[in-house]
């Protein structure tokens, strides 16, 4: 009997009137877990019953604890007829199963009914007592922590990143089991909600088992989705990244609570500091990169190898024992050594079936090189599944796609895929499976066999426990160690260097020397699915870039339909890519982050929506302009037209440069001169045909140099393209937007935060639309939605819409649905210019000096010789080799993906990961770590907000909340709701219906978080919003699936208010002492 679940029903409030005669309700509660049910007494004639029940105890297996939700049903007692259900509450007790998460669930939960929505609230208390039974053969995976966050969670340190975990479970969909009988909406909806809850629990348990097998203790970047396949079943599937995480202990040494992951706001500040530097005044620090290079070059270049010898320092045990010599090796050795190391990493990764990572930002030193976006799609027929009730067929489908992704990555010279995600789009019996990610090269640091490392870790932990005083620097040290691995050279540009052999490039690309370090080659454009690495050198600000496309399709059935879709997909993707490229250039930017391409299929159309955040990476060459070329230059008016358009484009580019503050620092560098003259000359040579970038800062409108992107207007399509390019309205003043976590160039976030969801459904009545007509409709829909958002949030200006996540769907023949979830965050503009500037400079200085102190390990200056070929780099030919296609019933799509991949492969890059600066800022922040009392105080104050009895719960799709520090993760929130109405008009029509449903979902998420003791949800995501209506029958139904991480945060201002710890100061000195 491994666990005892205890529940107590305290009270209810705001209950609905169930007895019309008395205007009151005789409520009682059923508490159900598994097959056991308890009941409270009836509390007669009250809308605010006080049951104050005994503790209901369920003795259950921990397997059940993981799978089952606690089900609470509130009913109205009726002596003569059947009791009426008021509503239900499902409580996921998983957070109680991990010792580090919540200990009790206690609070007011909305009582939810799928027909009536929220009907009052109920106060519930839930506890779990777990008996450890280590000898048992484990079916459960209690204690494995799950995080939706796609980076290492804030109060943890990654010890090991084990890799990809996935699972998929199938069941019959209760919605389709009523066919012969009459469907009773409430019963059907509740069966579905319960089933998905069960399946989610099972899925999580199974993934947890895999994680335990791998030796991990957590899943990061957990993404769970469900596919409503219709009659073939209901699929719940999940992917994630298994990790071993160490909780940064605050108890002993608050100062060590260093966040190994680098995207806290403070880090943003730092990071922004780098970006700021580039366009900054020449005399402020000169070109940043050479300066840094000098700093680093004062260390011995072979530093990474000293790390490998475990004798030198126990903390370095994270690196593999390669048997390489310890410190002192000359700089020239670095190249070959590195190659060897990479080989090692590669083998480590190749042993894995899928070297995939759902993370989008990484612990320092983990991500070395970024190769580019890889994606694969496949069209399948759901009615051809042999065993619909078994997961095998779907497993095989995904396996196939993952193999393809893997081979694409390989062809890009990369051994891993990061920022990996999977999705589906279903229309009737056709299902499009999609997967995408970013090919990358990773450091082996977090990936080798763990046994030895674990020992070291243990001993280290002990050490830190015993030496709480003087060793406060432990955390700092740790992070230094972790950042100090191999790539400490030029920060912020290394990850842009190409990973593949330039003589044997897998695709045609323009390479230039890196504009930061002048030593390595970089491509002209870089597309990725990950977040902008915090250390990246960025010029100016970024912006949201979207490509939107709509293609009509003939209605068809079965295989014919699938073939038609397969044939359309490549064109769709190609055009999306062209649009992205054009829009990127129009904004004078050269890289995309967070790229997400969604293809949605309907009966008679395909929708494609690509969203990404465009930035100007300082390391990459300045993009040329866009040049329009007419096909037949005979006609004068035609030429005039062309030149008008050209002028418009040039004007837009100039305006955008100003708007996004893109002033590449080339000129400055030119004048001041680089300390590494030779490579720079080479780069000049190489760039001889892209000199236009130098004039860019003078706002040269011609752009007509040789590297300009040429758009040929040879048909109406191209004209349309250009029009659509120019019709994107600029964001209104004071607004910025991005779909990544971090917006380069913005810091000084205030605490003002507004997460929102907006949904629009557009009806195309009269459907004889051309592709262009459809495109315009779709484009306008998205543009108008954005305009509305800017208007609604105008009071938050200056502000940035972050993590803007669009999802499109074709719910019915003539409907297009667009849903957006994002967070608007205000920032302080003035401070940016004045105080902010100062503090940033200060931070920067501090960071630099502290870096010097901290880099006690010799640095490897040349991380990699540019001529070092990747073993895995293969020619294009191999990429385009068709994958074996099989499976008769499904239409195979591999030949298409190959075509597709060729364009994708034109975009890639690589990365070195240097986080010295950011890490340092983190640690300086940590100095202001809270005293425990400070923390509890602020928590209390937060809960008792303005005398209201309701805890304020913040929600954000980001993994952090600016100006705050997350001190505890309470568990994953993964909720699925169905709402249905048969009185649509009475509920305010479809808009009224959905408006209240979304508000209800938010309310239920907040209530669950508050009951866990939390005050925020981070990494919030609305994964699904399926809306169906039948206005003629006055009916509508909607399914929403949301997820996120419940956390406790405290304000940094409150932390700072507490006196700084004397320890941290000593830690600082001690670490610097070691450094010298």
């Amino acid at each position: 009997m491994p666990g005892k679940l205890k529940a107590k029903i305290v009270a209810g409030r705001h209950l609905p009137v169930m007895d019309r005669a008395s205007d009151l309700t005789d409520a009682f509660v059923e508490v159900k877990f598994g097959n056991t049910t308890f009941k409270t007494d009836v509390y007669p004639k009250s809308l605010n019953p006080q049951w104050n029940s005994e503790w209901f105890k369920f003795e259950v297996d921990d397997e059940d604890l993981q799978d089952e939700p606690l089900q609470i049903t509130v009913l109205d007692h009726d002596t003569y007829s059947a009791n009426d259900a008021i509503g239900k509450v499902y409580i996921d007790i998983d957070p109680l199963l991990s010792s580090e998460a919540a200990t009790v669930i206690s609070g007011w939960f909305p009582i939810y009914d799928t027909i009536h929505g929220i009907r009052g609230e109920i106060n519930v208390l839930v506890k779990v007592e777990l008996f450890n039974d280590l000898n048992r053969f484990r079916q459960s995976s209690c204690g494995v922590k799950f995080f939706c966050t796609t980076s290492i969670p804030r109060c943890y340190r990654a010890v090991m990143v084990h890799g990809f975990v996935e699972e998929l479970v199938v069941n019959e969909d209760p919605e389709y089991q009523w066919i012969d009988r009459i469907r009773t909406p409430r019963a059907s909806n509740e069966a579905r909600q319960r089933l998905i809850s069960l399946m989610s629990g099972e899925l999580q348990r199974k993934i947890g088992l895999k994680v335990l097998e791998m030796g991990g203790n957590a899943v990061v970047g957990y993404l769970q989705c469900f596919d409503l396949e219709g009659e073939s079943g209901l699929v719940v599937r999940a992917i994630g990244t298994a990790c071993t995480l160490d909780k940064l202990s605050n108890t002993y040494t608050p100062a060590t609570a260093i966040n190994p992951c680098n995207s806290s706001p403070s880090k943003d500040i730092k990071e922004a500091g780098f970006g700021e530097e580039a366009p900054g005044v020449p005399l402020s620090s000169g070109p940043p990169t050479p300066l840094r290079a000098q700093t680093f070059s004062s260390f011995s270049p072979s530093k990474s190898y000293s790390r490998q010898s475990s004798s030198s320092d126990t903390e370095l045990s994270l690196t593999p024992k390669t048997g390489m010599g310890s410190g002192g090796s000359a700089g020239k050795e670095a190249g070959p050594l590195k190659a060897l190391l990479r080989q090692q990493t590669q083998t480590a990764l190749e042993q894995r079936e899928f070297p995939f990572f759902t993370l989008t930002s990484f612990p320092p030193g983990f991500l070395l090189h970024v190769g580019g976006v890889v994606s694969a799609r496949s069209v399948k027929l759901l009615d051809r599944i042999h065993n619909p009730d078994e997961p095998e067929t779907r497993d095989a489908w995904w396996e196939e796609i993952r193999q393809e992704i893997k081979s694409h990555a390989k062809a890009l010279g990369c051994h891993a895929v990061v920022g990996y995600s999977e999705s589906t789009s279903i229309c009737e019996e056709v299902c499009i499976l999609s997967a995408s990610g970013t090919a990358a090269i990773l450091s082996s640091r977090f990936m080798q066999d763990s046994a030895l490392d674990t020992e070291h870790r243990l001993s280290r932990q002990q050490a830190s426990v015993f030496t709480s005083g003087a060793e406060k620097g432990e955390g700092d040290m740790g992070s230094t160690a972790s950042l100090g691995f191999e790539d400490l050279m030029s920060p912020g540009c290394a990850f842009c260097h190409i990973p593949y052999d330039e003589l044997n490039m897998p695709f045609p690309a323009q390479l230039t020397y890196c504009h930061c370090c002048r030593r390595y080659k970089v491509p002209d454009v870089l597309f990725t699915t990950i977040d902008l690495p915090t250390e990246a050198n960025v010029t100016g600000k970024g912006c949201l870039i979207q490509a939107r496309l709509c293609r009509t399709k003939k209605k068809a059935q079965g295989e014919g339909n699938a073939t038609a879709i397969s044939n359309l997909l490549p064109f769709l993707e190609y055009e999306l890519h062209t649009q992205l490229m054009n829009k990127l250039k129009l904004r004078s930017m050269n890289a995309l982050f967070g790229l997400r391409i969604q293809i949605s299929v309907g009966e008679n159309m395909l929708l494609g929506l690509a969203s990404a955040t465009g930035v100007y990476l300082t390391a990459l060459p300045s993009p040329g302009g866009i040049q329009i070329a007419g096909k037949t230059p005979s006609d004068i008016t035609y030429e005039q037209h062309i030149s008008n358009m050209q002028k418009k484009i040039n004007d837009t580019i100039a305006k955008n440069k100003e708007l996004y503050e893109i002033n590449p620092p080339d000129l400055v560098e030119e004048v001041i001169g680089s300390p590494i003259p030779e490579p720079r000359q080479r780069s000049r040579l190489f760039r001889s045909h892209s000199e236009s970038s130098d004039e860019v800062s003078e706002l040269d409108l011609s752009h007509g140099k040789k590297d300009a992107f040429v758009l040929e207007i040879d048909d109406t399509d191209a004209v349309e393209d250009i029009h659509s390019l120019l019709t994107d309205a600029p964001t209104p003043p004071g607004f910025y937007s991005c779909n990544t976590e971090i917006m380069p160039g913005i810091y000084n976030w205030t605490s003002a935060l507004q997460m929102f969801t907006s949904v629009r459904v557009f009806r195309l009545s009269n459907v004889n639309l051309t592709n262009q007509g459809l495109n315009k409709v779709f484009n306008d829909l998205c543009e108008n939605l954005l305009k509305s958002l800017y208007f609604k949030l105008r009071s938050m200006v200056p502000c940035c819409l972050c993590h803007v996540n669009f999802t499109v769907a074709v719910p019915e023949d003539e409907l297009i649905q667009v849903a957006v979830t994002a967070v608007a965050m205000s920032f302080d503009k003035d401070q940016t210019q004045e105080n902010g500037r100062q503090s940033i400079d200060k931070n920067l200085m501090k960071a630099i000096t502290e870096n010097e102190d901290q880099l006690q390990f010799p640095l490897e200056l040349s991380a990699e010789s540019s001529s070092n070929p990747l073993n895995s780099a293969k020619g294009l030919s191999e990429v385009s080799g068709p994958l074996p296609s099989a499976r008769a019933p499904s239409v195979d799509y591999s030949s298409f993906t190959d075509r597709c991949s060729s364009w994708i492969e034109q975009l890639r890059l690589k990365a070195h990961t240097i986080r010295c600066g950011s890490i340092k800022t983190m640690s300086s922040l940590e100095k202001a770590s809270p005293l425990p009392e400070g923390r509890s105080r602020s928590l209390r104050s937060n809960r008792s907000y303005a005398g209201s009895s309701v805890t304020v719960v913040k929600m954000t799709p980001l993994s952090f909340i600016p100006g705050t520090k997350i001190i505890k993760y309470l568990g994953i929130i993964n909720m699925f709701f169905i709402r249905e109405t048969t009185s649509l008009r009475e509920e305010g029509g479809v808009s009224g219906f959905l408006h209240s449903f979304i508000a209800e979902v938010f309310a239920m998420v907040r209530a669950h978080v508050a009951a866990l003791g939390g005050n925020a949800v981070v990494s919030y995501n609305m994964k699904e919003c399926v809306f169906m209506e039948n206005p003629n029958k006055n009916q509508a139904q909607c399914l929403i699936n949301v997820s996120g991480d419940a956390v406790i945060f405290v304000r940094e201002s409150e932390l700072e208010a507490t006196p700084p710890q004397p320890h941290s100061a000593s830690a600082q000195t001690s670490s610097s002492g070691e450094g010298t």
Partner: protein, 360 residues
């Protein structure tokens, strides 16, 4: 021609966004299209360059939000512990305050009327007369009714009850107290002669009556409510008759007042000539207050019997103030007059009411 339409359009924030301007438009009873037009015309939004389409979408969202909140606003204490909308406390207070604010012109029309279905039917006329939109009239009327219903049966101070149950500001709670008080006692306010009086005038008088003439006024420990005038007090007022019935006393009173006012007021001769009439008017009003009917006529009586004569004699406010002050105080020096406390309680309120009502 393509015919396409936005089928559904919603925006939901984790923190509920409330645009105060739109809220006011909604409260004022404007339709969505009216509201959009007015917003388009207003200067405040000109810098946003918002199109009609954007404004329409925003206005619809806001109106929906308000409609969903309305149910909660009917019981404001629910707003603070409901879970559906996350609204910061100060915004909640704003929502409630604005929802319960009312047009004084409207309130003036309803004042003293029974808050019944019958009155509700007259709202069209009131809407026409006051220029307040019918929708808004209905909301305001329903608010009156709701507040009335809740506090009618409650014990303790009226203003505090209103404030406690509806979480209103002090001044608004006082206004509601006045409305409730007038509705409960059904004071006549509709007569032509009373038309010149504003809602504020009456609200002030109501405040005076509540503060000094109800049971709660003398004893807050009393388990009775503030809504009704104290029966005992009204009954005792009959004793004041002595001031006019006793010839000596009346003369003495007059001479004392005249002595005090001589040379101080412009309308001295008129006052001297009229003293007995005026005094008789005030005492008569007092002695008749045991009748519910006469209580209702308190204000019309004050106007007809006292204010109008003074006005026709062109008394200034200063004259009136001095007169009433000394009229009250000199009574204490009358040897035979034993009802000092009663007199003070009566005249204090009457004096301030008359002074408030004495204008054009």
């Amino acid at each position: 021609m393509r015919r396409m339409s936005m089928e559904l359009d919603v925006f939901v924030g984790n923190t509920t966004i409330i645009d105060e301007e739109v809220y006011q438009l909604w409260l004022d009873g404007h339709s969505v299209s009216d509201a959009v037009r007015m917003r388009l015309e207003s200067d405040a939004l000109s810098e946003c360059e918002a199109s009609g389409e954007v404004l329409h979408s925003d206005t619809m969202d806001q109106y929906r939000t308000f409609q969903m909140c309305e149910r909660l606003l009917h019981c404001p204490s629910k707003l603070a512990n409901q879970l559906l909308f996350q609204i910061p406390a100060h915004r909640q207070a704003m929502l409630i305050e604005r929802y319960y604010e009312f047009d004084h012109t409207f309130a003036r029309e309803v004042l003293g009327k029974k808050l019944s279905k019958g009155t509700k039917k007259d709202l069209d006329d009131i809407s026409l007369k006051t220029g307040v939109a019918l929708k808004s009239c209905r909301r305001q009327f329903d608010n009156f009714k709701r507040v009335f219903k809740v506090v009618e049966e409650l014990k303790g101070p009226l203003v505090e009850n209103v404030q406690h149950h509806f979480l209103l500001s002090d001044s608004l709670a006082r206004d509601y107290a006045a409305v409730v008080f007038f509705a409960n006692s059904r004071f006549e306010t509709g007569k032509r002669k009373l038309q010149y009086l504003s809602f504020q005038d009456f609200a002030f008088c109501a405040g005076q009556l509540i503060s000094y003439w109800t049971v709660g006024a003398v004893d807050n420990m009393m388990e009775d409510m503030d809504v009704d005038l104290e029966k005992e007090f009204l009954h005792d007022l009959k004793d004041l008759k002595v001031l006019v019935n006793d010839k000596d006393m009346l003369d003495q009173h007059k001479s004392l007042v005249c002595y005090q006012l001589k040379g101080k007021i412009k309308a001295f001769s008129e006052m001297e000539a009229n003293f007995k009439n005026l005094s008789r008017a005030l005492i008569n009003i007092a002695s008749k207050l045991t009748n519910t009917k006469d209580v209702r006529d308190l204000f019309i009586d004050l106007v007809e019997k006292f204010i109008e004569p003074c006005r026709s004699d062109k008394w200034t406010v200063g004259d009136l103030t001095l007169f009433l002050t000394h009229y009250t105080s000199t009574a204490h020096t009358l040897e035979m007059f034993r009802f000092q406390i009663l007199w003070e309680r009566y005249m204090g309120v009457i004096k301030s009411c008359i002074l408030k009502m004495y204008h054009d």
